[in-house]
Amino acid sequence: MPLLLKRRTVIPGFGLTFGLTMFYLSLVVLIPLSTVFLKTFSSTWPEFCDAAFSPQALAAYKLSLGASTVGALVNAVFGLVVAWVLVRCRFPGASVVDALVDLPFALPTAVAGIALTTIYSKNGWIGSLLSRFGIEAAFTPLGVTIALIFIGIPFVVRTVQPVIQELDREYEDAAASLGASRWQTFAKVILPTLWPALLTGFALAFARALGEYGSVVFISGNIPLKTEIAPLLIMKHLEEYDYEGATAVAVVMLAMSFALLLAINLLQRWSRRWQSP
């Protein structure tokens, strides 16, 4: 195996860098995560199921997955538009807008949560407008989704932006000169190039949203079965000193996110292969 690896690489120092990578990944990612799994072994299978698949837990997974998916989808669409405008359009204050995109990264999530709740609650700016149409945002699943859209937007913009920058305008010109409509140019020429980056952005925004706790607990009503997200359920178990229950939920969340991220990675690989025959 080492021989094989050596033959394949032309870059020197492969053994060293590979070793470092594994060491670093183990220290930062694998060891903490494996303790989560180890902790679940201290409970029996029925106990695990009782905590991991209780009606409350199932409702929480559903809300967490649903709101994260919707949030990441919205971000994928509008993040693409934002990235496109930032790269292709010259307008005064473009650099300010560019910096604004990163703010959800930098802002403490609790601050984001409280600010969003203030705006979207019934007596807030946007919330009072929405309530006129009979829509309640804060303390409903919609509020959860809004918070997750907020924290996810930089992931899509920042992954798609560099790819748009690399995109050669000549392709679009060529497509136009060959008689393609604007929509055809977008769907057949631009989108396939952006697809892998867009998927990565979507996956990152989705994964971040799934684990988000700080901002959501403020804007969600936290009612079991209705507006309770899975990370809150974990906190609740910890609060009861029920570490087994907490890790049971955490393990299910981990398994689901890992499966989804893996699926997205495979999809990406498949779309790349499909693109370059």
Binding site: D50, A51, S54, P55, Q56, A59, T117, T118, S121, K122, N123, G124, A138, F139, V217, F218, G221, N222, I223, P224, L225, L232, M235, K236, H237, L238, E239, E240, Y241, D242, G245
Partner: protein
Amino acid sequence: MFRRAFLALVLVCAAMPAWRAEDVTLLNVSYDPTREFYTEFNAAFARYWQDRHRQTVTFKQSHGGSGKQARAVIDGLEADVVTLALAYDIDVIAEKGRLLSPDWQTKLPHNSAPYTSTIDFLVRKGNPKGIRDWDDLVREGISVVTPNPKTSGGARWNYLAAWGYALKKWNRDEAKARDFVAALFKNVSVLDTGARGSTTTFTERGIGDVLLAWENEAFLAVKELGPEKFEIVTPSVSILAEPSVAVVEKVAEKHGTGEIAKAYLRYLYSEEGQEIAARHHYRPRSEKVAAKYAERFPKLDLFTVDELFGGWRQAQKIHFERGGIFDQIYRPGAR
């Protein structure tokens, strides 16, 4: 020249432990709404100790949700004393952390609870929904705000207060009490994780007709946010909330602060300590101080956790543990 400087340094280092022994630092790990109270009390105790023992005490305070604080102490936060929202949280420190003896509650008078409080209702000015007592909370169309009993110590008092009221009303009929509490929580649309969060939801976001709150927190809200906006309704019956205090023996031993930590907690029972507590809307244990502040604290029928629930361990187990009654209220299909 260099040597002299070095010598001076050695001398300073040698002298250091001598004057450092004079100063003592105490870490008091407490829960959310006691911030203002302990700021004042710590200053008073520091003065008292300085007069008696010619020793300067500096305090470090930590505040947060009671359960979270207990967990921090178990996980290694070196608190000399804990002053938490409910006895159960200190029980857990004794049980899981083994940092103090299980009979800690007998070490100070009044079950180691130097001041008490109760659960009141905070309503909007003029009480537009006419909320007078617990029965009004389960009426159709009343929106109630309380924190989540799973994550907030204060909310567990709220829940048990409602349960106890129902027990008394229906002659200790557990099934009736359960229906009552389930109906009450059906009227709750936001369960914040902590007491302060619920207060914000009620006062700033305009959610709900009534907030279940610590008496002192309700007084504080009215004082800070204006008596023209909110008023306090005292129910006929409520729970005697007994926030407990204890020396974390293992840690105090290690820090050599055992004596002063004990004196600190005992000072809570002194006349000055009781006065400060009363000023911050905690009900004092001392009858003399209670008489002085009598008009501040409305009279109502108060029951204790020991009377109706057989103590905190029991209450925790039946009501708040995974699969307990609180979880059953939120089963799909349950009313």
